[in-house]
């Protein structure tokens, strides 16, 4: 189309927009084609020519400022084979929230694959997905993938070459291998970061936490951010350092909390101390007690009673008040020492039943062995199998068939899937999802057979993660840091 035609088309267009006969304003060649006996027919013919001109001769004008994203970084593991993607999509579809979807990604990563980016992508703020996805997290945040590809070891000099997710991943590795070096980096580089970033950096101190970290953590008591001070206080509490008046460990609060706990004695020959919660007299007292358990440090509390942390745990009367039991376990998880956490986990796992399920509150701080003991105990009891979905930081694909077959799990499952009780059945389906992550491929395959034989439809979506797990049988577990998986 030449310039005259284009100008003519523009005139026709403008005229038709406001309305009226435009034949006289058409390009000469168009008029020759469009001439007809009636004015309406002439306009229609012109309209047909204009339509063709718009369709064929004109192209949409591309804006000059089109923005392209940098290429999506290629991850260090291969992509899940195409044939397994339908199974994966089914598992992702069944996973109810971002945390459970991340768990699916973790299972796949543990077998040496990453997901297709059109199936799943970690979010910008994702800190739970396996390390392998750090470049994608940074890409989501707008990072330049070229820059990432140049990265070396994390040092003060290369600090700015790392985008946040990759830096976080590198710092965790460094805290494990050279904690002092990582601490120095957090100390020197974190000071100039905004509060939100400082908080995230200080939070990483929990990896490889040790006595050498005390001076730095204490120095944070002067930090501008209350959240940073609080985080540092909790970490200090884990190291056995008493809280200070300004944050969390207030003497008054601890005393108030201690007043909710009754000291007693038990045993006829060897009298020993016991600690039991006092029943709150009102809703307000109940709420206050919950607040105090959440804000005080466990170390400060036990000192009030003149006990060590493990002693206090051993003397606590579980079962008197379920709410207080839960608050105490959470308190230990947040501010208890490693020794306290381990002894509480051992106690709860040994007790089994409802108490073992309480132990799931501790899983973020448990070593791999204790987590497994706890999960096995819960399976053995089969009281609330759906609670397994709460296990944090667990490794994928270790649960063997003997773990499932020897306890009450299988009978409980069979009864749940074959029964008419919707609640029990739903719990069983949640359990299947949880075990879909924990089970070895062989266990997954066998479990599918068991529940289908018991009456669960073979196509039940609750089996999707188990099916994916079983289908990944050809790929043994890779070494993926469990702390970074769930």
């Amino acid at each position: 189309m030449n310039e005259l035609d284009q100008a003519g088309l523009a005139r026709l267009r403008d005229g038709w927009i406001s309305g009226g006969a435009m034949f006289e304003f058409a390009p000469v060649e168009w008029k020759e084609v469009a001439t007809a006996s009636s004015p309406d027919e002439q306009e229609r013919r012109l309209l047909a020519i204009a339509a063709q001109a718009l369709d064929v001769a004109l192209r949409p004008a591309a804006p000059k400022t089109l923005k392209r994203r940098p290429p999506l970084p290629v991850l260090a593991l291969p992509m899940l084979p195409e044939r397994l993607r339908p199974l994966l999509r089914a598992a992702l579809k069944y996973a109810a929230d971002a945390r459970l979807k991340t768990r699916v990604a973790a299972l796949v990563a543990s077998r040496g694959f990453v997901l297709h980016p059109m199936d799943w992508m970690p979010s910008v703020s994702d800190q739970e997905s396996p390390d392998i996805y750090a470049p994608w997290v940074d890409w989501q945040a707008g990072a330049d993938s070229q820059k990432q590809s140049r990265r070396e070891d994390l040092t003060a000099e290369t600090w700015d070459d790392f985008y946040p997710a990759a830096r976080r991943s590198a710092l965790i590795d460094l805290r494990r291998s050279a904690p002092a070096l990582a601490r120095t980096l957090i100390e020197t580089k974190g000071a100039s970061e905004p509060a939100e970033v400082r908080l995230a950096l200080v939070e990483l101190m929990r990896f490889g936490l040790g006595a050498d970290d005390v001076p730095f953590l204490k120095s944070l008591s002067a930090d501008r951010s209350g959240k940073v001070r609080e985080m540092a206080g909790r970490l200090l509490a884990r190291l056995g350092e008493r809280g200070n008046q300004a944050d969390g460990g207030s003497e008054d609060s601890t005393a108030e909390l201690a007043a909710f706990i009754e000291e007693g004695k038990s045993g006829f020959i060897r009298r020993r101390a016991t600690y039991a919660p006092i029943k709150p007299k009102s809703q307000a007292q109940q709420a206050r007690r919950a607040d105090l358990f959440a804000s005080c440090y466990f170390g400060d509390l036990v000192v009030r009673f003149g006990r060590t942390e493990p002693d206090f745990i051993g003397a606590w009367q579980f079962g008197v008040d379920d709410g207080a039991d839960l608050f105490l376990v959470r308190m230990v998880a947040v501010s208890g020492s490693d020794e306290a956490v381990a002894s509480l986990a051992d106690l709860l796992a040994a007790a089994g039943g409802r108490l073992a399920i309480l132990g799931l509150q501790l899983t973020a701080r448990l070593d791999s062995g204790r987590k497994r003991v706890l999960v096995r105990q819960i399976l053995n009891d089969a009281q609330n199998l759906a609670a397994l979905i709460l296990v944090e930081g667990a490794e994928a694909g270790w649960l063997e068939w003997s773990d499932l077959a020897k306890g009450k799990t299988l009978p409980a499952l069979r009864s749940a899937v074959s029964g008419d009780n919707d609640v029990t059945r739903r719990n069983a389906e949640q359990y299947l999802e949880a075990v879909g992550f924990l089970a070895s491929p062989v266990s997954a395959e066998k479990l599918i057979g068991e529940v289908v034989a018991a009456g669960l439809p073979p196509a039940s979506p609750s089996l999707s993660l188990l099916r994916l797990n079983a289908a990944l049988a050809g790929n043994p577990n890779q070494m993926i840091n469990p702390e970074k998986i769930a």
Partner: protein, 466 residues
């Protein structure tokens, strides 16, 4: 398989359904019939009147069933036919140990009844398998005079339809001229009401297909930015003018009749010697499902010929009432299969039927199509428009490119070879991840203003974009 004819009689909603089912029990109607080795399940694909086969599944233990057809009879004739074959010719079912995804999908969503199915003579009252079988075996014989009367009536009806459609196009012409006189600015603002009114007239005058197209025009306009709407109105109204003129010039042309009044039936297409038939490997590029203002849902499944050296497409088009609820298609994006397709006769044959499905094809990449010599990604559209300028959606394969965003976060496909030149706007929003993936080739529909992405090939494999 524990099926007997008494059960089927009891299940049938009425005698007519049994009669219809009897006609579907021929093996040729069922490209796929399978039964599970262990589970009490049978399923199949029945070639119905739609372009996609209907997917039919039946649980022989509790008589639960599922069919993707739009029938409002429960169970429909396809279910009855499947069970009928199951009862009388169980050997027709291939024994398999795995259920297909669509059967799994149904199984996972259905609730098993608490009690076993009730069957018995009471429920079979007034319905007879024997009678239905006899009907099929002995169709009524028409005498010569009756046949002549029927043909004369048919001719009369066709003549009446032609006159009515001609009158409809006269009204459409006048209406278009009125819109130009009144101004397209006002037309764009009031297009919903104005198009609805003329569409109703077109329906009255038997230009049903054209009425549907006019009725959809407001939705097309509203999908664009305000400043683009007048151009789109010119394009669409101009195409209607061209279509009306073409129909007047050749009212018996099959393609034009289909676009203006009614479409041929499946049987007519299959029996048409002029219909192009292509046996090849096909990949399902994607689906386009649109709820229309006339209460129908149009379900288009776009296919790519994997054996052709130049891009060749086919579209399987089905319509069903929106009130029938969501229907699962016979194919999923990315499926590959070998089949013989029969194309509806047209200048650019696109709409097709699956005449025969000949098995699945292994996954792989698309053939490499030579790009246009002049580097114009829309060159194929220009040729397409030369043949049939009244059509809107043109399927194309775009060369290597990527998706970029403009200042308003609108998505554009941009050619890799010319990052500052050719770019085409993309309809709707795109998956953000797509912005970081280089696309080796992209299948899309170009409607003159926007690209509707169907699928892409990339370094990380096939991408479903529809």
């Amino acid at each position: 398989m524990q099926l007997d004819l008494k059960t089927i009689e009891a299940l049938a909603p009425d005698q007519a359904s049994l009669g219809a089912a009897a006609k579907l029990t021929k093996r040729s109607n069922w490209p796929r019939l399978e039964a599970h080795e262990q589970l009490p399940l049978i399923w199949g694909e029945c070639q119905g009147s739609g372009s996609n086969p209907y997917r039919v599944a039946f649980d022989t233990s509790d008589h639960g069933y599922k069919c993707t057809c739009p029938s409002r009879k429960f169970p429909c004739k396809h279910i009855l036919a499947l069970t009928w074959i199951g009862a009388t010719a169980p050997a027709s079912f291939a024994r398999v140990d795995q259920t297909p995804d669509w059967v799994n999908d149904w199984l996972s969503r259905r609730r098993k009844p608490g009690q076993p199915p009730a069957t018995g003579p009471a429920r079979a009252e007034g319905k007879s398998i024997d009678e239905a079988s006899r009907l099929e075996e002995a169709p009524p014989v028409e005498d010569a005079a009756a046949a002549e009367r029927r043909e004369a009536a048919q001719r009369k009806r066709a003549e009446d339809t032609r006159s009515a459609v001609s009158a409809a196009l006269d009204e459409l012409d006048q209406w278009i001229a009125d819109q130009l006189r009144l101004g397209l600015a006002g037309f764009v603002d009031a297009s919903s009401e104005r198009c609805r009114r003329i569409a109703a007239r077109l329906v009255d005058l038997k230009a049903t297909a054209l009425a549907g197209r006019v009725d959809e025009l407001p939705a097309k306009l509203m999908a664009l930015r305000g400043e683009e709407r007048p151009d789109a109105a010119i394009r669409e109204l101009g195409k209607l003018v061209l279509l009306a003129k073409a129909w007047r010039a050749a009212p018996d042309d099959a393609e034009l009749k289909r676009l203006v009044s009614t479409s041929e039936t499946r049987d007519q297409i299959l029996a048409n010697p002029d219909a192009v038939q292509v046996e090849s490997d096909w990949e399902v590029l994607g689906e386009k499902i649109e709820a229309r203002r006339d209460g129908l849902v149009s379900h288009a499944t776009w296919l790519l010929d994997l054996k052709s050296t130049t891009p060749r497409f086919a579209v399987l088009l089905d319509f069903f009432p929106a009130s029938a609820g969501r229907r699962s298609g016979a194919f999923a994006a990315g499926d590959r299969f070998r089949a013989r397709l029969v194309f509806y006769p047209a200048r650019n044959p696109l709409r097709a039927l699956v005449a025969e499905r000949l098995g699945d094809v292994a996954p792989g990449t698309w053939p490499t199509f030579a790009p246009d010599a002049a580097g114009d990604p829309l060159a194929a559209c220009a040729a397409f428009q030369d043949g049939a300028p009244w059509l809107s959606d043109c399927p194309i394969i775009l060369p290597a490119g990527a998706i970029a965003l403009d200042e308003k976060d609108g998505a554009w496909w941009q050619a890799a070879s010319d990052p500052h030149g050719i770019a085409l706007p993309v309809a709707g929003s795109v998956h953000q991840t797509l912005l970081g993936i280089d696309l080796a080739a992209t299948a899309a529909l170009w409607n003159g203003a926007r690209l509707e992405l169907l699928a892409s090939q990339s370094s990380i494999g096939r991408l479903d974009l529809s």
